[in-house]
């Protein structure tokens, strides 16, 4: 250190007022930090991720709550702008099966409180997938693979009532609203990511087979379906038959990919118990006379 390089006066007129001047090396670690910047990155990333997750969660809950409460006409308008989903193969058999399914849906609709303006349209798909689904605009689709395994109209009515309950509760709207809202939030974080998420949801709405419902929504649909079944048939035989049929499907344990219904609707023991509990609570018999399947649908047996 060069100390006191000049010991002359601060003021030229007062040489006695001496000042010792020196330059010292700058103190380290005051104006800058020696912390590892990776630590800071980890904290900041963790914090922002937590914030985004919390926001996405909150927005998705809010959207899921709001979407089913918007007037149905908006959902209908959106569905009308997409290619129709509830279609049937353009064959005599396809049209006949669709007619029978539509007739059953219309009968059950009279026993449900569907949103004003909702016209349930049932489609039929000649595919071995064991599934049925409900989607935007009052549309629902049944696959041959499912129809071919049903033993009575009661079982079919249970599936139909379950899907129609999804329509009644606007679950497709909720799922779509949730997806779009999450996409919008993500677009704030990353335009690309958000656009991808929103576009993904909307294109899925176009195909509409992949709108996923929550466990609560499935439970609500089950309960509503049981009420319809009780009113239409006077017993819940269709529900218990359906779940036993499904549980006994080959590959039911591993939930084989073609058995979509099992993957999306886990057939747990608790679900059967819930049926029995519901029957007890509402004083509805669990068993009764089954009605046969309409002949066109019965003809699909084993195909």
């Amino acid at each position: 250190m060069s100390r006191a390089c000049s010991a002359t006066a601060l003021s030229g007129r007062r040489p006695d007022a001496a000042v010792r001047i020196e330059n010292r090396p700058p103190a380290e670690g005051i104006n800058s930090s020696t912390d590892n910047p990776l630590k800071e990155l980890a904290w900041l990333l963790g914090g922002s991720l937590a914030a985004v997750i919390a926001l996405v969660f909150a927005v998705s809950l809010a959207a899921q709550w709001i979407a089913p409460r918007t007037p149905y006409k908006y959902e209908a308008r959106l569905a009308a702008s997409l290619p129709p989903i509830a279609t049937a193969p353009d064959t005599d058999q396809g049209r006949a099966v669709q007619r029978e399914l539509q007739a059953l849906a219309d009968r059950l609709a009279a026993r449900m409180q569907l949103p004003a303006g909702m016209q349930v349209r049932v489609g039929y798909s000649d595919s071995k997938t064991v599934n049925a689904f409900a989607t935007l605009g009052g549309q629902t689709v049944f696959f041959r693979g499912l129809l071919a395994r049903l033993g009575s109209e009661d079982e079919l009515a249970m599936v139909m009532a379950h899907e129609m309950a999804h329509l009644q509760h606007r679950h497709a709207s909720a799922a779509l609203g949730r997806g779009v809202a999450v996409g919008v939030v993500l677009s704030v974080v990353s335009a690309e990511l958000g656009r991808g998420a929103a576009a993904g949801v909307l294109s899925q709405a176009g195909l509409a087979t992949t709108l996923s419902f929550t466990r609560d929504q499935e439970r609500a649909a089950d309960e509503a379906a049981l009420a319809v079944l009780a009113r239409e048939y006077g017993h819940l035989g269709g529900a218990t038959d359906l779940f036993r049929t499904m549980a006994n499907l080959p590959g039911a344990d591993s939930a084989a990919p073609q058995v979509e219904l099992l993957r999306t609707h886990p057939l747990t023991r608790t679900r059967l118990l819930a049926i029995e509990e519901w029957a007890r609570r509402n004083d509805v018999p669990l068993d009764g006379a089954r009605r046969p399947l309409p002949s066109t649908i019965a003809a699909l047996q084993g195909t």
Partner: protein, 174 residues
Amino acid sequence: MAELIQLGIFLALLTVGYFAGSMIERRHYASIRKREREYRDVLAFMVRFPFDRTTPQRAFLVHGTVVVGADYFKTFVAGLRNLFGGRFRSYETLMERARREALLRLKAEARRKGSKMVVCVRFETTTIASGWAPAMEVFAYGTALVPDDGSLSLPEPRKGVSRLLGDGLVRPPA
């Protein structure tokens, strides 16, 4: 797939930014500390007037200027920091290095011109780029002093014009 590629590019840039930035920073600090020892006999002060106003001095402007740029890692961390607030640690070291470097360059110029004393040192910064590649200019300037040995012949001032003497005092024309 496109998202994965984007994420990959982003992570690669972040990694390159971190390792390159850390290495450059380490080397720069080492170089700064070494030169600060070398230039410790050139004194720089913020005072407006020379300490020694009894010896005739020659005074001239010296300056040092540095342009620093942040690496991808620093910019990303600072971007996240923007959400939460607090110390922008990643930029603090950057700006500290820039100021110390600018002062060293000022001292280098002063020494080359024979001065061991610079007063009235000031710093200025200018943003020259922002966004994903922020860069700043740090500019240090000051008045270097050299004891006047009389070898420099000052031109006679014109009549009525003040004569600026090396001691920084303006005296009326004789």
